[in-house]
Subunit: 204 residues, 2 copies
Amino acid sequence: MTKTDKISTEEKILDAAKKVFVEKGKAGTRMQEIADEAGINKSLLHYYYRSKEKLFSAVFKFAFKKFAPGIENVFESDKDIFEVIEIFIHSYIDLIRKNPFIPTFVLNEINKNKTSFITETIKEAGINAEKYIEFVYKNIENGIIKETDPRQLIVNIISLCIFPFAGRPVIQIIAFDNNKEEYERFLDTRKKEVTELIINSIKK
Amino acid sequence: MTKTDKISTEEKILDAAKKVFVEKGKAGTRMQEIADEAGINKSLLHYYYRSKEKLFSAVFKFAFKKFAPGIENVFESDKDIFEVIEIFIHSYIDLIRKNPFIPTFVLNEINKNKTSFITETIKEAGINAEKYIEFVYKNIENGIIKETDPRQLIVNIISLCIFPFAGRPVIQIIAFDNNKEEYERFLDTRKKEVTELIINSIKK
DNA sequence: GTCTATAAATTGATAGAC
DNA sequence: GTCTATCAATTTATAGAC
């Protein structure tokens, strides 16, 4: 008996739901499709998760955790800020590359679904902005980096990491003649490009 | 009689459709809601536009034109590249600020809706990447800017302009305590921030 | 051109057998 | 726990009166 046989029905449903919701969005998802993907009966979805809404909630929470990197853990150290930024960019781009649909899904649902649930999920993710901001200010005071707005900096970093994935179909068509392999190579060079651009913008 | 009374039913429908589709997305839009928004009967939607699909197509084409700036017009001139970039960033951020939901809408539909219609619309927009690329290379050869990959450059510019709008709800909550006015001020400074970052990255 | 009425298909959710 | 059958509501689309 292989280990995959041991996956519980509840897990099978959640896995299937993640796949379908992230790919099609909340409004575009059909409960039937999740059931098919999980290889089970549609009624079981309601047995384990009362409603589509509740199933979506579970998926969104998972997706948001993937999306929102633990910046507070990376930036709290006493390490070299340039090194920390490089590690952050590299690991974040690696992360998105493994989950390329997550950014579009999260951004879209957050914009369309202005419920208290979404707001709460974002807050509950417990991203500690203060620790990061302190870290940046300390490096400014110590004369290691230029006078920099920490919020502009982090928005710059995340913008540059995410857009090549969210905007991939457009960029690939317009700038790469819809050549998939060429675009993959473009993404390869992206880590270095973004790191250099950011480091260059804060170093004295 | 005011001029607004002269708006044809067809126009009223398209205006209403733009509003609802861009806000709720293709899958989340209901024909009834468009009819209500236009103040007309639901049947008229089908009279003027045969189906939801066709109405969506009209809206998407409009939205994509807004989204995809005419880079070929801006960059074909013999003007100073630094000036051209500044103008491009300023006018693009101004444009998105007037249509803040367009980026999320376009990016989302492009990723979820992998039909030939979407691909064709992107191609038909007729964005002339070559003219832009030539312009950048000319400036490199003339020693005005550093050795730069034109595609990385344009992706950098657009990333930095768009993400603060697509990711607004998250950033506003995490970094600005959900304070709308503070976020508006943040966006105000964004034009200068992006321009400086980009110029700084290409100047010798 | 614009409306009412309604068809036809889809879809989230529940009841009840096993 | 899992399935079949089915309800009830929604939603796109059309027919036909005016």
